[in-house]
Symmetry: D2
Subunit: 474 residues, 4 copies
């Protein structure tokens, strides 16, 4: 794929019916809510085309995208096969009320459930919805229905969406602050973020101190969560991202989750695995949790299921939580839940996965990318931490000490990337990076699974250019 | 458009890669959650194609659809113009993180905001999301942010979605029953459902007794909602469907909402207008509320914005509620909020609206349909009430007395329609009807705006056939 | 008893160790919270002695008290027998941790439970606490424990206390307004306040329209409170004051509560009877609810149990709600719950009741008083409503039309009474009146059970004097 | 004072009007709720008299009481001076609605507020109520009113009462488990319980690791409690017992609270000091918090204010939280709030305090008692921890290792003490002990301030007797 040609083609056909750039920005400033994340930068970019690993702006400038819509477009922008699946459905059954069945829904659900049945040796079912938060809400319904309790544990640094109920179990208070009282606020537990251990322990020498701290909560009723007379817990589930997404692509130590699960099982606490960002092979496995030898009770998924072509999302749950006898018809509903366009693309994604070897490709590319970054790290102590699993990579930007979080530097690099004025390969280019992390100083890299080594090299080159420029200004 | 030919074509191309009907149903029974509404019937239908006003099942049987995905596909299934707009976007910018801008988002938002500015003489802004419930949640954020209060009024019979927060303001307790404690439960007020007046008054002779009952709540602090010392109310907003959707397509008396608004204004209570089901000319105007001479503070919309091709939804709010100073960057977020496929189709829908005269067409077709039904009503006293606004029509099924709700009869008619064994025009056909209403005895008819008089005649014929058969069995 | 002599004696012995009046008021203004109700008047009265039906201020002025500490001192101020019981206990077992038993507790509980067992043919138990609100909270625990649900119905105009949970089920929003979010806010139902019928019906011709309105809530799930598929209700109990206290001493029609109970029983909703203000013969029966032929599931009591000598309060509940198997040891606790001073006085009150004939005395005195007031009413149309049950009497002050609430006039009369400058019988006197009612325009009269006809005459005389003076100024 | 003589006298006068012991127990079992703590033991004791440090049962057996009604009767049972103050008030103004003033209320409030003004250099005000929980609820109202937020921090091991709102901030889940949803549940923080350090640090070598862990919560918004953009916290106050009461009389390290306060001040979080159990010189100062060089924003008090003669309780708050402008008339109310009997005794308690030197006496007796216990500890390794401040002493019972909690042994000792069959001094005696602690293995000793060294010696003797017997059985 060649971004340049494409962008030219696109740009030729575009201008006729478009509005001048500044007028567009003016309209946007006036009529669009600023409440989303567009205005995190002072002058937002406008893009007109996307293909493979690239975005193109109105001036034909090519931007290498290392975030892929926060991992929604794992299979590359404008993936021909997936786009065609969507078009085919448009031409047959583009619309159907979700009260009635269509084949793609059934096949997609069956593929996912059968796949999990094999992987986890657990029969389960799929329930669809649209948007990750709405699937998350469905998971809360399952949890509450099953346990009769509303409160849950979740991780500090965790992110589960922005509906009110999802905000209640997402750690950032900022997301709740202006929106009333949250009577279902989760109890937030420190995540094993070993680069910045919440307990200041050294990794590999800590003997899972953090897990033991969690287990201690159950030692006496005075620790606030359990009635020792019947071992019942105030919290019905633990919401987990196997690899924290917005939290900064943090991978916990290998045996963390199995240790956690052991505690939860003792007190009948459900394990809910939010795979909205990390699912669909971002980490080299269908679900990130599969790296950790744990069977979740519920899996929540979304984003990459359709490669970003439709907001369809869903949950998989163990039979005991979702069988028709406990979750009968009418338990919930959503107009677009299993909309035919979404399920058709989802089904094609599953076929693509079956026919590809992402389990090999993703780790291989990930290792290549990580190695390149680690090499760069030697030169730039400001790259405090470089880590990752599969193609979910993190670069944590710090002061010279390699530890103190450096948000300013991070922001500068983002800005330089989005300026489209980097010059790798003798050509004006841009670089699209996403920032996460507890201190907003982590580049969370989620490249296309089809990214080439050459494109990775280009990415590293552009990153270094931006970093060195930022350091000069800084 | 001719449904028959198309279905044949589709059916020819389909079978090769499909699974036998019974196997599909078996897979569905096993791997799909039954928690949605599919299993409201004992054997769910599987459809393979949709076009115009028709759905087609695997055997080529044509079903006249009078519910159009609960009003999501107002502009007809497989509308060529809208499908093409979607395909065009697939070929240019199918994916883009919503943190970055694209032209279609800006133009769609601007069109909607400018249109409302003209209609209501109020500057406002648009915030997108996906799925009606999520847009509803965004509206709650605006309300809470502005008022500092979490509790709201809503109508008995109202429906606003099924996320937890939306369930809290949706009247049916059944939606909350098994899902924990709802600390933000709305205070529900009787809707002016004049056919079954909650106060047993006679329409046109009641002098808006219901409104006066509502106003009475504010007479003394002991009526539970207001502090008379400062006239502040415990409830920050009133959530309204101008025409109740799931509640049974109920149209309130002409002056009801202006009277209500007067009370709300006295106590600084916001008027939130949920147009998810009735918006986009279902009632003959862009927003159903425009029939009632009232300016809402917030409008929530979804469904038909993309004719069902993408779950994009959104809110419009007055500047004072949503300006960047009160609703700053990062106030909320959703991965697919303003996804390019959704905005592209939405923009085309707005152009289609501008170029069409739905304001004339919809009422005209609605009147024709209603007249046909009213004629039928004379023959069948069981059609207790026939009413409607635009192409949002209601037929309330009763006992012979024309009043006592008759759910059993209603269910029989639905079943006969979905059996595909009605025989209008000497051909096996089906009829797709949606049921709503407080007693689940109301056919809520929402046909395509492109439905022809012939198709309406066919619909009435099929309905009568089903009705008369049902009455025999009954 | 003769108030004059007593006051003199007291005043003689007092001054030595007291602080000048103005200094006291200054200290109060500076160091006392104004958050209670003392500063409802601009200059609060200071009293130094109480006896029988009278209060005495520092200047020896005698005030006839027609409110008796809002019905806490039913048996007269400084009742010798009850005071002696308290003193006796002080001299034997003044203190004992409530974890250990003492005879008075057991005997008082047994007397109350056995008395209710006879009256209602229901075995139950007594649980003590201190302060009406705390007993109310205990009743909420029983309700929640039994039903598994937190939400309850309560009446508009109802008052159940001022702890946070009691405020949530007390109608006035003013009590909640500044104190955060109330996730357990009751659903408030109009009380049968027939003088101002919430539905503007005429008493005796209304056919219990209000009850039918309440019953209508259960007709369909869309009315927001019931799941018709299982007839379960979102609300687990209905909190009732048989005669509304703070609401203005309103007596409902004879058959109202039995009709209400019938509805509640259909849906398993508990009937909780708050007798804190009306219990202990204020209405001529031990519990006010006994006038209405209904067996409550829980009775909450306090105030007059000790004639105001100790804040002990409590609940009686049916065995099924409170047996050791459902409400086991440690379910709740309060340091002073069954404190020996409180139980000793309570036990003496019960003996006094057994030995007196308040069932005859109270209605007789009440009728005498009411008759005198009704006579006055003929002269003063501003006395819009004169009514009452036993010695719980109401005079609702209105404009000349006898209907429009007149808070200003009410306040003036209160002020004149508290000025101590009325001149009945050629002597400077005061009159202590309490104000309640939805519009703060109702004198809620709760005289001592030992009030004499002469004192009643004096009360009426003083009242007329204040009223006529107020009307002049007005 | 000599318990023996008194008990004899009492027992002589008692029997005439009493009920046989077994009949009493039978009545209790049948008509009293078991929901309080009486039935923690299998056969509850019945007491008939109390004096000084002693309780007396129906058989004249003398029980040395080392818990003094959980510190409510600090000044000894049947304290003549205080009893007389109560009797005097009974004879003058026993009853008065709290809407009107009486001198004792004003003087008591002034004394307390002036005392605090001197101690803390902060002008404040007093608000009265009855029962500790109700005063606690008033403090929550102040906090919510001032901050506009409902959520607070509290300590694991903390106890603040049993109303619903108090249970929400009391650590034990058992107290909430059966009573619905607690939407205001506190965020519970580990208390510096150094004998069992929650982080397994060694005291004096930990560098306040626990405080640093708390401070870490404020480092990033992802730690769930703070918005770093404005440094506003989700939690408006921190509820503190300076010495944990029910938690087991745990004294934190000297500089803990000042360190904590520093963090709280940075984020505008109020410091609420619950002195219900430790106030009124239990620890040798009026308020326990005065040991720690910190000025609380609110103090909640109760219990010993009247030496257990009246449940009056209250709060002191800084002017900014409670001035009439922010907490105006009618903000709250309670019938018995400043009841004259309670204020009269409270005033006498304050005078007694002024005239006594409890600041010297209490620590001296405490040290004597502690020394005796420490000596015993050398002999019995099962006395894992002996510690205390003033006359709030703790003995933590363990296995032989001196660490593993031993509830069984603790319960045996309690039982032996309550059996009344210990034989110190050649006489049958009993010993009344209270148990607390996270593992219910801590004797929380709160003797009378008038306990003599001889009585302490007797206490230690009885304790050793029970301990050695328990160890034998064990």
């Amino acid at each position: 794929m060649n971004g340049k040609q494409i962008s030219t083609r696109n740009l030729k056909s575009k201008p006729e019916n478009t509005i001048p750039h500044d007028d567009l920005l003016e309209l946007e400033a006036k009529y669009c809510s600023w409440g989303d994340t567009v205005h995190y930068v002072s002058t937002p970019n406008i893009f007109v085309a996307s293909e493979g690993s690239f975005l193109y702006d109105r001036y034909g400038v090519e931007f290498l995208d290392l975030q892929m819509w926060y991992s929604a477009a794992n299979f590359g922008y404008k993936n021909k096969r997936l786009n065609n699946a969507l078009k085919k459905q448009i031409d047959t059954l583009p619309q159907l009320a979700c009260q009635y069945l269509h084949e793609e829904k059934i096949r997609l659900a069956s593929k996912l459930a059968q796949r999990n049945e094999m992987a986890f040796e657990e029969k389960g079912r799929i329930h669809f919805n649209v948007g990750g938060s709405s699937a998350l809400e469905d998971s809360l319904k399952l949890v509450r229905n099953y346990s009769g309790r509303s409160l849950v544990f979740a991780f500090m640094g965790g992110y589960h969406g922005r509906t009110l109920a999802a905000s209640a179990i997402t750690s950032s208070f900022r997301y709740r602050e202006r929106f009333g009282h949250f009577g279902d606020r989760a109890m937030f537990i420190p995540f094993p973020y070993c680069f910045r251990c919440p307990y200041e322990k050294k990794k590999d020498f800590c003997d899972f101190y953090c897990l033991k701290q969690f287990e201690k909560l159950f030692e006496t009723e005075y620790h606030s969560v359990v009635n020792k007379k019947n071992n019942k817990c105030e919290f019905s589930a633990f919401y987990v991202e196997a690899i924290q997404g917005t939290g900064g692509y943090i991978t916990p130590p290998q045996d963390y989750f199995s240790g956690l699960k052991e505690v939860l099982d003792k007190y009948g606490i459900l394990f809910v695995d939010d795979e909205i960002q990390m699912g669909f092979f971002r980490t080299g496995k269908l679900w990130a949790i599969e790296h950790f030898n744990v069977t979740p009770d519920i899996i929540v998924f979304g984003k990459a299921l359709t490669n970003g072509l439709n907001p369809i999302s869903g949950i998989w749950a163990k039979e005991k939580l979702i069988s028709p006898s406990v979750f009968p018809p009418g338990s919930t509903h959503s107009t677009f839940a299993s909309n035919p366009l979404g399920t058709a693309v989802g089904l094609e994604v599953m076929k693509l996965i079956e026919e590809s070897d992402f389990a090999t490709i993703v780790p291989r590319k990930g290792e290549y990318f990580k190695a390149r970054l680690k090499k760069l790290q030697k030169k730039y102590p400001q790259m405090g931490d470089v880590d990752g699993l599969g193609l979910a990579l993190r670069v944590e930007m710090c002061e010279k000490d390699g530890y103190t979080p450096n948000k300013e530097l991070t922001d500068k690099i983002v800005e330089l990337g989005l300026s489209g004025k980097l010059s790798a390969g003798g050509k004006m280019r841009g670089l699209v990076l996403d920032v996460g992390g507890y201190y907003k100083n982590v580049f969370t890299l989620a490249p296309s699974f089809y990214i080439t080594e050459k494109e990775i090299d280009l990415g590293v080159e552009l990153f270094e250019e931006a970093l060195s420029k930022a350091l000069k200004k800084y």
